[in-house]
């Protein structure tokens, strides 16, 4: 077991170790650059080599070694090595780790000083870390990695650069959601770093009230937590560093909407924008500008008191068919991401609906009721309706060019042939919608054989052979089905009024795609929908026909739904949803994923044009990517498929919550967590002031370098004229000899 490991204060300097190759390269270079000369006295040279080659070789290697060691010693000295028992046993993994999380949500950028303080705090936490402490820097919006490589160890220059680059994003954050994820990450860190004895987690945030709202409404103390298991970990300490400030002002476009979810080209276009003053001072002369498809269409100047919201409206007589991007800006050149907001809408032509009514009676039959509900009576009213309804008798069905309609409603059709069911299935796959309304003439067995699982498989339920009788109200299942969008929040819908007296009992098939919109009180499906490729199929298991007043036959009384107050919005909601080809969610927040509307499409190439003009193109199969996640830029995204050629737009906006600079109180934090105002951080960091033998080691290495330098000099001297013979010696001695001879 290694008791003392070592690390480097400036590990980046270790890159200079490559300089140790210089002597080797010089040696090789010298070898290759030998000056050649002709030489006569090779006899002496060979004698010298024979006697001294080994010594020369050793000397050369020693010199090389000394020079390489000298450079290495100098480099190591400047790399500020240190010995630290806090390092892991292998000397490369820390036993102490600082996890620094910098909040980069939109609110951090409302004032540039906030983000600047955040970066400074993060950098101080890094630079003040005792040598040997591992550093892991992240933001709530980056993928956390527990890899050893992700931990900065020794030289934190790269981390400091990463912090310097950190900027506020248009994203929003709810720490109540994020902290448990952070807790899971801390768990993984502890598991993946053996020997980690101390883990300090620092969350640096502006402490915005919208991000730090009380997490658990049912919590006894309403305080934050992450994971109980971590709370029990004594080696984990949680710190929250508040770099926010009070008194900031901000005005933002907090909402843009249109009351008509399905805009039709014939309808007037209503756009509403909500402007909110989050500051504590009056905001005068705020210019609100409306743009449709980048064309400025409306200006308005508003004045907002502190904390006030104001709705600004724009209305145009109509729009062209197709997708439109609506933008509302504050001023001509918005500075902040929340100074502008987008909305997309698809202006469609009126929806053509064909009612094929097997029970057709002039003036009062299911087709008539549906027609009245979808397209009200007078001409002027009908002109404003999004639906155009045609009625056909049941026996006219084969002769009707029903394929041209956006939706077909089959009312009390007794049966279908196999050929008809195949035609209907093709119609659905190609984008048509069919509502099957049951009735007394319906033959469940035929439906099962031709339309059900045994046939074309386009029916959302399996019908029983006999209808149930009773008095039933309608249960909308908390309005979860998307067709109920307009009903949500409406307490008095009347759905709980008994209106159904007979229905075909059915079994909602288990596929997830079959979604019930209405059920009887005992749970039997009354209205079930199912997507079929690009189209939608729905079945109403009771009749819309009213009881016959003349027949007096209770057996024929099925429902009074057609005269209930909710019938018109119900039919509008149902047929509207069934014929709406656009996805439900066209208004996202930055960072949210958008479900691609291609799940049932055949393999195709899809392209998403981003707000900055770039395009992302991918080829996808049915079971491949289902979500588009690259929504970091606020604006309008245009999604197109090549085969079939279709387009869908969606808008990405900043969360209005992030526009609110109000901060919250540290009271919401658990007592075990440490809370720091950024100003207090310095005094807190002093406890980590590190006095080490770092400089002593560096000094020792420099002394070693000096010693190596001396040793090199000595070796050169030792290797050269050690025998005391020099050229001058030889000539002098021999000269004496000759002089003596001359004298003789």
């Amino acid at each position: 077991m290694v008791l003392i490991a070592w690390g480097f204060g400036s590990a980046g300097m270790l890159g200079w170790l490559a300089a140790a190759l210089i002597p080797v390269m010089l040696h090789l270079w010298h070898q290759s650059r030998r000056k050649e000369t002709a030489w006569g006295a090779m006899f002496f040279l060979r004698q010298a080599l024979e006697r001294h080659s080994r010594r020369m070789r050793i000397t050369q290697w020693l010199l090389l070694l000394l020079r390489v060691s000298l450079i290495m010693a100098v480099v190591f000295a400047f790399a500020r090595p240190f010995l630290d028992s806090r390092l892991g046993a292998n000397g490369t993994s820390p036993t102490s780790l600082r996890l620094v999380v910098l909040d980069t949500s939109h609110s951090m950028g409302l004032d540039s000083s906030v983000m600047e303080r955040g970066r400074e705090a993060a950098q101080r936490l890094v630079t003040s870390a005792p040598p040997g402490t591992g550093i892991l820097f992240t933001t709530p919006f980056t993928k956390h990695s527990t890899d050893a490589e992700a931990v900065s160890f020794g030289d934190h220059a790269a981390v400091l650069r990463e912090i310097e680059r950190a900027e506020a994003t248009p994203r929003s954050i709810h720490f109540a959601d994020y902290l448990p994820r952070l807790g899971e990450f801390v768990d993984q860190l502890l598991a993946s770093h053996d020997g980690l004895q101390q883990l300090d987690v620092f969350v640096i945030s502006d402490f915005a009230a919208s991000s730090w709202y009380a997490p658990h409404q049912d919590s006894s103390d309403g305080k934050f937590s992450w994971q109980d298991s971590i709370d029990e970990e004594e080696r984990v300490r949680m710190h929250v560093v508040n770099v926010g400030t009070t008194g900031l002002s901000n005005v933002a476009v907090t909402r843009v909407w249109t009351p008509d979810r399905r805009q039709h080209a014939t309808q007037p276009l209503h756009i509403f924008a909500e402007i909110t003053n989050f500051g504590a001072t009056l905001q005068k002369n705020l210019a609100v500008r409306f743009y449709v498809d980048d064309q400025r269409v409306h200006d308005e100047v508003v004045q907002l008191d502190a904390g006030q919201r104001q709705v600004v409206e724009y209305m145009s007589p109509g729009t062209a068919l197709g997708w439109h991007a609506v933008e509302v800006r504050l001023g001509e050149e918005p500075h902040e991401a929340d100074d502008r907001r987008w909305l997309v809408l698809d202006a469609a032509a009126r929806t053509r609906v064909l009612c094929v009514d097997a029970s057709f009676r002039l003036g009062r039959s299911m087709g008539n009721y549906l027609s009245l509900a979808l397209s009200p009576g007078t001409n002027s009213q009908a002109a404003e309706s999004p639906f155009v309804v045609d009625i056909a008798r049941g026996w006219e069905m084969p002769d009707t060019t029903w394929r041209e309609y956006d939706a077909v409603v089959f009312c009390d059709m007794p049966s279908f042939t196999a050929a008809e069911s195949e035609e209907l299935a093709r119609y659905l796959r190609e984008g048509g919608s069919i509502l099957w309304v049951m009735g007394p003439r319906t033959d469940p067995a035929n439906y099962h054989e031709t339309l059900g699982a045994n046939g074309a498989d386009i029916l959302p339920v399996e019908l029983d052979s006999t209808p149930l009788e009773g008095v039933y109200s309608l249960d909308p299942l908390d309005f979860e089905h998307p067709m109920w969008q307009d009903f949500r929040g409406q307490e008095e819908t009347g759905l709980n009024t008994p209106a159904v007296y007979r229905y075909w009992k059915s079994d909602r098939r288990t596929e997830e795609a079959n979604v019930a919109a209405l059920v009887a009180p005992d749970g039997d499906p009354l209205l079930v929908t199912r997507p079929i490729a690009r189209g939608r199929s729905a079945i109403l298991t009771t009749s819309l026909d009213l009881p016959s007043q003349t027949a007096g036959d209770d057996a024929q009384r099925w429902s009074t739904v057609a005269v209930m107050p909710y019938f018109v919005p119900l039919m509008h909601g149902l047929l509207g949803w069934m014929t709406a080809h656009a996805p439900e969610n066209l208004d996202l927040l930055v960072g949210e994923s958008w479900p691609l509307p291609v799940s049932d499409l055949v393999e195709t190439d899809v392209t998403v044009r981003l707000p900055d003009g770039n395009e992302v193109t991918t080829s996808m199969a049915n079971d491949s990517v289902e979500y588009f996640t690259d929504t970091d830029i606020p604006g309008v995204y245009q999604f197109t498929t090549r085969q079939p050629s279709e387009s869908t737009w969606f808008a990405v906006n900043v969360s209005p919550e992030e526009s609110d600079p109000a901060t919250t109180s540290p009271q919401i934090l658990p007592e075990a967590w440490t809370y720091h105002q950024v100003g207090d951080l310095d005094s807190w960091l002093e406890q980590f002031a590190f006095s080490s033998d770092q400089s002593e080691l560096s000094r020792a290495l420099l002394w070693l370098a000096a010693g190596l330098l001396l040793a090199e000099g000595w070796l050169l001297w030792f290797a050269a004229p050690k025998s005391g013979f020099t050229g001058r010696d030889v000539t002098r001695n021999l000269g004496d000899f000759n002089t003596r001879r001359m004298a003789e």
Binding site: A38, W39, A41, L49, R51, Q60, G727, M742
Partner: protein, 303 residues
């Protein structure tokens, strides 16, 4: 000696084109620089007595005869004409070396030296021969004292070029066998070979009764090794090159050089071989003086 330095200074000699001109320049300058003839007193042999006549130099009166006969006779001398001197010039590849500070390669220096000695020998009617060798004897001019010998010697010297590696010992053995009459053998070589072979060869020459004079020639750089940094030394006697850090080998090199010279000097002295080392930046006067000293030792005056 300032004038002496001029006539035999290699810098000056290098500016003279002809080898004969160089030899003449050396020898005549050497002679003129001295008040008495270097030949005087030992390069002549006693021949006969004659009667003294007034005007004769009284130094040559034979006073012993006068003591016995009370008549004055004058000693007459005849020049020694039967000194046979074989000149051996090493032309191995290493002799072609010329350092940065030298005026000429060792081979050129050796040629000048041999030419000057030949010039001097023939001028006093000695017989001189020449052998040019490296691993073996490449060319040879037999001993002769004729007037044309000088031309032959100088032609042979002029034609000599640096050749292969040295095998002094073998050559000395061969010369000892071929040059049987007692005489003088002068060797001009850098002697970059096994010293024991060299010494055995020299010993063989001495054994044959020859007076042996060895001029061991060096380029100044060969005794200084003035190199720094990584060098590749290419062998002049082959194609091999040795790479090394010159500053690291200098000490060992100089030690090897000194040991070689000291061994040769010591053993030559023990074998009564005259051994002189010369660097090519030194005036040739030293070589001529050595030659004259050696000749006097070998053939002392009979006066």
């Amino acid at each position: 000696m300032a004038t002496t330095s001029n006539y035999s200074d290699p810098e000056v000699l290098a500016s003279l084109a002809s080898l004969e001109l160089r030899a003449r320049h050396i020898v005549e300058g050497f002679t003129a620089g001295r008040q008495k003839s270097p030949y005087h007193g030992f390069s002549v042999e006693f021949a006969e007595h004659r009667d003294y006549t007034p005007g004769d130099d009284p130094r040559y009166v034979d006073w012993k005869v006068f003591g016995r006969t009370e008549r004055m006779y004058l000693k007459r001398f005849t020049e020694e004409t039967n000194l046979e001197c074989m000149l051996l010039l090493d032309t191995s590849g290493s002799m072609a070396y010329q350092g940065a500070s030298a005026a000429m390669p060792k081979l050129e220096y050796g040629k000048c030296l041999v030419a000057a000695l030949a010039f001097m020998l023939l001028r006093q009617s000695d017989r001189a021969g020449l052998a040019i060798f490296d691993r073996r004897i490449r060319s040879m001019v037999p001993l002769s004292g004729k007037g044309s010998q000088r031309t032959r010697l100088f032609q042979a010297l002029a034609a000599a070029e640096a050749g292969e590696s040295t095998a002094c010992g073998a050559v000395f053995h061969e010369m000892a066998e071929r040059f049987s009459r007692r005489g003088m053998v002068i060797v001009a070589s850098d002697l970059l070979a096994d010293p024991h072979d060299i010494l055995q060869g020299l010993h063989h020459l001495r054994f044959q009764g020859h007076e042996v004079l060895v001029f061991h020639l060096f380029d100044p750089d060969e005794l200084k090794f003035p190199f720094e940094g990584p060098m590749a030394f290419r062998d002049l006697e082959g194609t091999a090159a040795i790479g090394m850090e010159s500053s690291l080998i200098r000490s060992a090199y100089l030690e090897a050089a000194r040991n070689h010279i000291e061994l040769l000097e010591k053993e030559c002295r023990r074998r009564d071989v005259d051994y002189v080392w010369l660097t090519t930046d030194r005036p040739l006067e030293h070589a001529l003086l050595e030659f004259l000293a050696a000749r006097q030792r070998a053939f002392p005056s009979t006066r």
